[in-house]
C-alpha cells in the first residue's frame, strides 16, 4: 500500500511537471492611466551610484520614457520599419542592420561584425504579437504591456528609429534612484509585494500553478486598485514606473572587450533582491526572452 501511494505521488508529480502551459490564457485588462508616450526629465547633477553608493555625476539633462516600450508601440514600429525597408523578414525572424562593434579579442569575447541581426522572432509562442507574413498585430489584452521577446538589437533599433537611444547603465540608475539618497528601490528602502511585479508577487496576472508570472500593464503599480487588488505608488523620484520589476530593461553600453549587453531592473521572473537598482544582468545581444524589454532615452 505504502509503495503504491509513493508511486502514485511520484507519478502525479511527474505529470504535473509536464502539464502543458496555456501561453494565451485569458488575462485581465486594466487601463492604468499612465501614458506610455510620456517622458520624464532627469536633471543634470550628482547622485549615488552602485551598491556602495559611490558619488557620481551626469552633467546633462535627459529624458527617459516614463514606462517601458509597450507591445502596441513596438508593433507600430515593426510595421513601419518593415514597410520602409529598415527591417526585413529572414526566415522565422525579423532582422535589422547593426554597424558592428570594435573587436578587442579579449577572452570569451564574441565578434559582432556589421550585419543583420535578429530584432524579434516571428514564431515564438511566448511573443505578445503575431505576424501574418506582412503585418504585425498585438495579441489582444497585451496592448499596454511591456514589449518582450525583443533582442538588444531590437531595442537599439526601436530607439534609433525614433530618434532616441538606449540609456547607459549610469543614466538608467540615476533615473531609477534619483539624486537625493541611496535608496535600493526606486520608491524607497523596502520592497513589498504591491510595489512591483516580481517572482511570486501575487499580482492578478500571475498563476504560479500554470504559466507562472506574466507581465503587468505598464504603470500598474501607481497606487490604484484593480478589481480590489491595491497597488502602492511605486514611481521613481523622477516619476518613472516599472523601472524595477516587470521586465529587465536593456541598456545601451557597449563595453570594451565584451559582447554582452547589460540589463537592469529585475523582472517578473526574479526574486525581489534583483530589483535593487544596482543589480544588473547581461546576455548576448541576440538574446530575447518573455522577461526582457526596454525603454528609451532622449535629449531634451
Amino acid at each position: 500500500m505504502k509503495h503504491i501511494f509513493l508511486t502514485l505521488l511520484l507519478l502525479i508529480g511527474i505529470l504535473a511537471s509536464c502539464a502543458p502551459v496555456d501561453l494565451n490564457a485569458p488575462l485581465p485588462t486594466y487601463d492604468t492611466g499612465v501614458d506610455p508616450n510620456a517622458w520624464a526629465t532627469v536633471p543634470a547633477g550628482q547622485f549615488l551610484y552602485g551598491q556602495f553608493s559611490d558619488p557620481a555625476s551626469i552633467d546633462y539633462d535627459y529624458q527617459m520614457m516614463v514606462t517601458d516600450v509597450t507591445v502596441s508601440l513596438y508593433v507600430d514600429f515593426l510595421n513601419a520599419a518593415l514597410a520602409d525597408g529598415t527591417l526585413k523578414v529572414d526566415g522565422n525572424q525579423i532582422v535589422g542592420f547593426y554597424p558592428g562593434d570594435v573587436f578587442h579579442g579579449v577572452k570569451h569575447e564574441v565578434r559582432i561584425d556589421p550585419g543583420d541581426y535578429i530584432i524579434v522572432p516571428t514564431d515564438d509562442p511566448a511573443s505578445r504579437f503575431t505576424f501574418d507574413g506582412t503585418i504585425f498585430t498585438v495579441v489582444p489584452g497585451y496592448e499596454n504591456h511591456p514589449m518582450t521577446n525583443v533582442s538588444w538589437f531590437g531595442a537599439w533599433d526601436y530607439c534609433g528609429y525614433n530618434g532616441y537611444r538606449l540609456p547607459t547603465e549610469m543614466e538608467w540608475e540615476k533615473a531609477a534612484r534619483g539624486s537625493t539618497d541611496d535608496r535600493p528601490f526606486p520608491w524607497g528602502d523596502e520592497i513589498a509585494r504591491d510595489n512591483a511585479n516580481f517572482y511570486a508577487s501575487r499580482d492578478p496576472f500571475e498563476d504560479m500553478s500554470s504559466f507562472g508570472s506574466r507581465t503587468t500593464p505598464v504603470g500598474f503599480y501607481n497606487g490604484n486598485a484593480y478589481d480590489g487588488y491595491v497597488t502602492l505608488d511605486s514611481a521613481s523620484p523622477y516619476g518613472l514606473y516599472d523601472i524595477a520589476g516587470n521586465v529587465w530593461q536593456w541598456t545601451g553600453n557597449v563595453y570594451e572587450g565584451q559582447h554582452y549587453r547589460y540589463m537592469r531592473g529585475g523582472s517578473k521572473d526574479t526574486y525581489d533582491m534583483d530589483l535593487r537598482v544596482w543589480v544588473h544582468n547581461n546576455a548576448t545581444p541576440t538574446y530575447y526572452s518573455p522577461g526582457v524589454g526596454f525603454r528609451c532615452l532622449r535629449n531634451p
Partner: protein, 488 residues
C-alpha cells in the same frame, strides 16, 4: 552539569554533537530567510519576530558571513575527527581542539549577530578573532600532523607507506591541512582589503567581467579551493574510518597528495600571472584527486559486498547488491561521492565542453543559478557524508540505523537531483513554459531538504533528551575515540 559540559566540550563525540547542533540551528533559522519560505512570507515574519536589521545593500556581506560561520563549524567537525582518528601528541590535540572550538563558536555567534542585528563593531572584532583562532588551530594541526616523525611511521605494509615507513596517508592529511591553511590566506587578505565585510561581492555576480582585480580573483580562488579541500579532507577521513588499505590505498594516497598540491597551485595561480593557464592546472590536479576518491569507492563497495556475501558460496548479482546496500551508513558516504559527480563534476565538465552554446548565450542570471546550485549541492553533499558518519558514531543500530541512513541518502539525493535539473532546465525547456516543471522541482528540493532537516532535528532532540539522563548514551561516549572504532 560539569560532567555534561566536559562531555560536550572535551570529548570527540560531544564536540561533534555541539558543532552539528550549532549548524542545524543556524540553518533552521537563516534558511527561513530565502527560497520558498521567503515567498510564503516566512522571511518577513522571522525578520520581525527576531528584530533583525537587514539593509538591502548589505545582503552579499551578510551571506558571506553566514557561509563562513557554517563553514567554520564544518571545518571544526573535520578537525575533531582528524584529531581523534590520527595519532598525535596530546598537547597538540588539546590545543587544536580548544582553539578551533572557541574560534568557530565566536565566529558563528558574533558573526551572525554583527551581520543580522546591526553593526555592533566589537562583535565584528570577535568574529575576526574567531576566524583567526581557527587559522592558528590549523597551523597547529599541520605541525601535529607532521608525517616524518618516526612515531607516526606506518609499520603495516598493507597501507600506503614509503620504503622508510612514512605513512603516506598521513602525508595526504598533512598536505591537505597545510594547503588549507595557505588557501585560507587567499580569503583573509582580500577579506581585510574589503574592510568592514560589507563592501564586497558574490563571486557569481562578477563571473563575466573580462577584467578582474587580483583581490577578486583571490576570492574566487579561495571559495573554490576551500570547498574542494573540505571535500578532500572528508574523503580522507571516511577512508580512515572505513580502514582503507591494500593496493587501492597504495595507489590512491599518492594520487590524492599529487592532486591536492596541483589543485592548490592552480587555484593560487588564479590570483597570479598564471591565471590564463590556471584552469588547465586545476583540471590536472582535480583528476588524480578524484581518481583517488574513486579507489576509496571501489575499496569500500568491494569490502561491503565481500562481507555481506561471506556466508554464501556462490553469490549472485542480486545478493551482492543486497550486501552492498545492507548498511546505509557505510555505503552512504561513498555513494554520495559518486552521486556528487552527477550533480557537480559532470555538470561542470558538460558546461565547459558546451561553453559556446550555453554560457555565451544564456543570460548571466541563468549562469548564476548553475554556479550557485552546484556550489550548494557540493556543500550539502559534504554535510550528508558527515551526518552519515555521525550516525555510525552515535551507535545507531537496527531499523533506526536503516531509516536514518536511507532517509539521509534518498532525501538529499532527491533534492540534489532536483537542483541539478533546475540548474540545467534551459537546455530542455523554454522560459515561458517552465513553471510547472519549476514547481515540481521546487517541491522535490523543499521536501527532500525539509524532511532531511526533520530527521536531523529528531536526532538532535534525542541527543538533547539524552543529556538530561543520568546514565544516558553520553556517559558512554565520553571516552570514545574514533581511532578505536575504525571498521576492521
Amino acid at each position: 552539569m560539569a560532567k555534561r559540559l566536559s562531555y560536550l566540550f572535551r570529548s570527540t563525540k560531544g564536540l561533534i554533537l555541539v558543532a552539528i547542533a550549532m549548524i542545524a540551528l543556524e540553518t533552521a533559522i537563516f534558511g527561513m530567510l530565502s527560497g520558498p519560505l521567503a515567498e510564503l512570507g516566512v522571511r518577513d515574519f522571522v525578520v520581525r519576530l527576531l528584530r533583525m536589521d537587514l539593509v538591502q545593500a548589505e545582503r552579499e556581506g551578510r551571506i558571506i558571513i553566514l557561509y563562513h560561520s557554517i563553514a567554520m563549524a564544518v571545518v571544526a567537525i573535520e578537525t575533531y575527527m582528524i584529531t581523534s582518528l590520527l595519532k598525535m601528541k596530546e598537547f597538540y590535540k588539546l590545543s587544536v581542539r580548544m582553539l578551533i572550538t572557541v574560534g568557530y563558536i565566536l565566529t558563528m555567534i558574533f558573526g551572525m549577530f554583527f551581520a543580522y542585528w546591526g553593526h555592533f563593531w566589537p562583535f565584528h572584532g570577535l568574529y575576526i578573532t574567531g576566524l583567526s583562532l581557527i587559522f592558528f588551530a590549523g597551523v597547529l594541526l599541520v605541525i601535529a600532523l607532521w608525517p616524518w616523525n618516526k612515531e607516526y611511521y606506518q609499520p603495516d605494509k598493507s597501507y600506503a607507506r614509503t620504503k622508510k615507513g612514512v605513512d603516506v596517508e598521513r602525508v595526504a592529511f598533512f598536505a591537505t591541512a597545510l594547503t588549507t591553511v595557505i588557501s585560507a590566506l587567499f580569503g583573509a587578505v582580500p577579506g581585510s582589503f574589503y574592510g568592514n565585510g560589507f563592501e564586497t561581492f558574490m563571486a557569481q555576480d562578477i563571473i563575466r567581467l573580462p577584467e578582474k582585480t587580483t583581490m577578486e580573483y583571490s576570492i574566487i580562488g579561495h571559495l573554490h579551493i576551500m570547498l574542494a579541500l573540505i571535500a578532500i579532507m572528508i574523503t580522507l577521513i571516511i577512508g580512515r574510518w572505513l580502514n582503507f588499505k591494500g593496493i587501492l590505498h597504495k595507489v590512491a594516497m599518492p594520487l590524492i597528495i599529487l592532486g591536492t598540491i596541483v589543485l592548490n597551485l592552480g587555484v593560487w595561480g588564479v590570483a597570479t600571472p598564471l591565471e590564463p593557464i590556471a584552469h588547465m592546472i586545476i583540471y590536472v590536479g582535480a583528476t588524480p584527486a578524484m581518481l583517488g576518491a574513486l579507489m576509496l569507492v571501489i575499496f569500500t563497495w568491494d569490502k561491503l559486498i565481500r562481507e555481506g556475501v561471506a556466508s554464501i558460496k556462490k553469490p549472485n548479482g542480486w545478493q551482492k547488491l543486497k550486501a552492498l546496500l545492507r548498511d546505509p551508513l557505510r555505503f552512504g558516504p561513498t555513494w554520495q561521492m559518486v552521486f556528487m559527480n552527477f550533480t557537480t563534476s559532470f555538470i561542470g565538465i558538460f558546461m565547459a565542453v558546451r561553453l559556446e552554446e550555453i554560457f555565451r548565450v544564456w543570460p548571466a542570471h541563468e549562469e548564476r543559478i548553475e554556479l550557485t546550485g552546484h556550489w550548494h549541492v557540493l556543500s550539502a553533499i559534504i554535510a550528508t557524508i558527515i551526518l552519515l558518519y555521525y550516525g555510525d558514531m552515535i551507535g545507531l543500530k537496527g531499523k533506526i540505523r536503516q531509516w536514518y541512513g536511507w532517509s539521509l541518502i534518498v532525501l538529499s539525493d532527491i533534492a540534489f537531483g532536483a537542483v541539478t535539473i533546475f540548474e540545467m532546465k534551459r537546455l530542455f525547456i523554454p522560459e515561458a513554459t517552465q513553471q510547472p516543471l519549476v514547481n515540481t522541482l521546487m517541491l522535490m528540493m523543499d521536501l527532500g531538504l525539509g524532511m532531511l532537516l526533520v530527521v536531523l532535528a529528531m536526532v538532535m532532540i534525542w541527543r538533547l533528551v539524552d543529556l538530561f539522563k543520568k546514565k544516558g548514551r553520553w556517559t558512554e561516549e565520553v571516552d570514545h575515540e574514533l581511532s578505536v572504532e575504525v571498521k576492521q
